[in-house]
């Protein structure tokens, strides 16, 4: 099945080449598209040097819109599987075959790679762990199935889900809300274990204040989604 790896990247000149190499080695058959989200550094150039195709957004639109751009590309080009693989080096390409397997087997429309199912210890601050646990409960409740890692950006979608994402994809902090939207649209969803690296370089985009904004925004978005007509 034609597979596209969508790599959203914002100012990732240090990590992007390693990420592309990693994907190449572990999933040689897949095409890679880097969505440069208006980076101020040489992310786009570095990605091209590494041999990836690059789509450069003229403005910094945020992760949600960047991933959606990749989905629009995947849909237009007729890809059957699209994978989101973050450009910061956090995700492991070794886990890619496992991530797309449920879609290849036709069992599901979308897959989330969960670091909490992997059995690997994943260290994070307690505030963050708590935030994720709260979101996990909320999302699981609404999705009607257990979602252990709703904020994971390591995910795959089949053509049906890609098409859905082209029309509906939340803009900022989209992961948890996207799960809810998918389930509300009646799509099948599966979680698979996926190890993740602690960050290689750069700093996380989540500061305490943003963390709070994240929780409030995502919760509000999910509640509002519930009130919208199907």
């Amino acid at each position: 099945m034609r597979t596209l790896i969508i790599v959203p990247a914002y100012n990732e000149e240090k990590n992007i080449q390693g990420v592309i190499e990693d994907i190449r080695t572990n999933l040689p058959g897949a095409d890679i598209i880097v969505i440069d989200d208006g980076s101020k550094d040489s992310t786009s150039k570095k990605a091209q040097e590494a041999g990836a195709k690059v789509i450069s957004l003229p403005l910094n639109l945020g992760i949600g819109a960047a991933v959606q751009t990749g989905c629009k590309y995947a849909f237009e080009k007729g890809y059957e599987i699209a994978v989101q693989f973050d450009g910061d080096g956090q995700h492991m390409a070794e886990e890619l075959p496992g991530l797309i397997k449920p879609i290849k087997e036709g069992r599901t429309d979308a897959v989330i790679g969960s670091r909490f199912l992997s059995g690997d210890p994943y260290e994070m601050k307690w505030q963050r762990a708590m935030g994720i646990r709260v979101l996990s409960r909320l999302v699981s409740l609404i999705a009607g199935q257990r979602i252990t890692d709703p904020t994971s950006g390591f995910r795959a979608a089949n053509r049906k889900a890609i098409e859905f994402y082209c029309k509906n994809y939340p803009e900022d902090y989209p992961e948890a809300e996207a799960v809810v939207l998918l389930r509300r649209a009646g799509m099948r969803l599966e979680e698979v274990p996926a190890r993740m690296r602690q960050r290689l370089g750069g700093i996380s985009s989540i500061t305490p204040l943003r963390g709070l904004y994240y929780m409030v925004k995502v919760t509000l978005a999910i509640v509002v989604d519930l009130m919208k007509k199907k």
């Binding site: 195709k53 450069s56 957004l57 003229p58 639109l61 959606q68 629009k72 590309y73 803009e171």
Partner: protein, 111 residues
């Protein structure tokens, strides 16, 4: 004659003129001017006669008529702001779509 009796109608009339002038010059679209125009007309009308204002404020139970004027003005400001928030949201959505399309087309051309 209190200061407010003169100031309010004058101010709201100037406001009305300013909005019309901006529309005329093409710097303000009618769509976004409607609420401004409507609010200045209402405030102008209500502030013209002390009697109307007193009568209207008594109905809603406000003892100091000028504060009824403030209430109306405040209500309109809230409405206008809310309207603008929806406009900004629409703009950011169309902006996003345009940027995405441009990026996709640019990638297509480069090939």
């Amino acid at each position: 004659m209190e200061f407010l009796n003169i100031a309010t109608p004058v101010a709201s009339f100037i406001m009305m003129l300013a909005v019309v002038e901006l529309i005329r010059k093409g710097r303000l679209k009618e769509k976004y001017a409607l609420l401004w125009l409507f609010s200045s007309i209402v405030i102008f009308a209500v502030s013209l006669s002390r009697k109307t204002l007193e009568w209207a404020s008594q109905i809603v139970g406000i003892h100091y008529p000028p504060s009824f004027l403030f209430l109306i003005a405040f209500g309109f400001l809230v409405l206008i702001n809310l309207h603008f928030s929806t406009v900004v949201s629409e703009l950011s959505e169309t902006n996003k779509r345009l940027a995405q399309e441009i990026a996709l087309i640019k990638a297509e051309i480069k090939k």
